[in-house]
Amino acid sequence: MRPFRRRGGDVVARLDPAEAHVLGLLLDQLDQLLAADPDDVDGDPVMARLLPAGHRSDPELAADYRELTEAALRSGKTDDLAAVRATLPVDGGQLRLDPEQAGSCCAPPTTCGWRSASGSGSPRTPSRPRTRREEGQQLAVYYWLTALQGSLVDAVAAGRDARR
C-alpha cells in the first residue's frame, strides 16, 4: 500500500491486489448488513455501530430518533459504500478520489466501518471462537485500515486548510 496523499485537488493511494480484495470483502459485508432484515441482525455489534441509539437511557426518545433518522442514515451509508466500491480498483492499483469522493470515503462505514467489520466477521458467519491465527489476521487488517484511514483524513484536512 502507498497511503493517501494529495495530488492536485485529488487524493491518491495505491493498493496491492490482496488489499483491494480485502477491502472489497469488507464492503460486501457491510452492504449485506445494511440490506439485511433488521430482525436478523438485531444485536450485531457492527450494526450497533452503523446505526447507534440516539439516547442511552430513554427508550422512548431513542425510538423517536430511530424512526426519524434510520431510513436516511441507512441510505446515506449505502451510498457511501457504493462510492468507495465505484472507485476501488478490483485487482489493486491506484485509488484516486476527488474532494467530494474523499469526503464520503472518510465517513464511516466506508473506513471506520470497514475496521469494525474486520473485527467481527460477516453477519452470515456463524459465531465461534476465533483462532489465534484469525485474530492475528484481523489485527493486521485493523492496523492496515487505520493507516489507510489516517492518511486519508490527513490528506483531506490538508486540502481543506489549503483552501482556507
Binding site: 455501530r49 440516539g54 439516547h55 430518533y65 446515506g76 473506513t111 475496521r115 483524513v153 484536512a157 481543506r160
Partner: protein, 98 residues
C-alpha cells in the same frame, strides 16, 4: 477515540435526563474505541465549522473525559446534529441539558 490499538469495550456510562421544558438540549459525542483522534477533530470541523483549536479541545475532552457537549439548542436541531454525527460514524446522543 482510538489509540494505536482499539479495545472493544462499549462505554457504559449513562447520563440521566429529567423532563424540564426550560432547559436546553445538547448533543454529546462519546468516547469510542474505533475512531481516530484526527478523524474526530476532522468531523467536528466539517460539521460545526469549529476552528482547529476548538475542535481539538473538544476531541481531547471526549478522549480524556469520555464525552463532550459539541452543540446545544432546540431538540429538533440536536436530533439533526446527532444524525449527522452518526452519518460520520461517531458515537453521539442528544438529551436535555443536566
Amino acid at each position: 477515540v482510538a489509540g494505536p490499538l482499539a479495545p472493544t469495550r462499549t462505554p457504559e456510562e449513562t447520563v440521566e435526563e429529567h423532563g424540564d421544558l426550560d432547559r436546553p438540549w445538547v448533543t454529546i459525542v462519546w468516547n469510542d474505541p474505533v475512531n481516530l483522534m484526527t478523524y474526530v477533530t476532522h468531523v467536528l470541523r466539517e460539521l460545526f465549522g469549529y476552528d482547529e483549536p476548538t475542535a481539538t479541545t473538544l476531541m481531547l475532552q471526549v478522549h480524556e473525559e469520555g464525552r463532550a457537549v459539541v452543540s446545544s439548542g432546540p431538540r429538533e436541531k440536536m436530533e439533526h446534529d446527532t444524525s449527522r454525527l452518526h452519518a460520520y460514524g461517531l458515537w453521539a446522543t442528544y438529551q436535555q441539558d443536566a
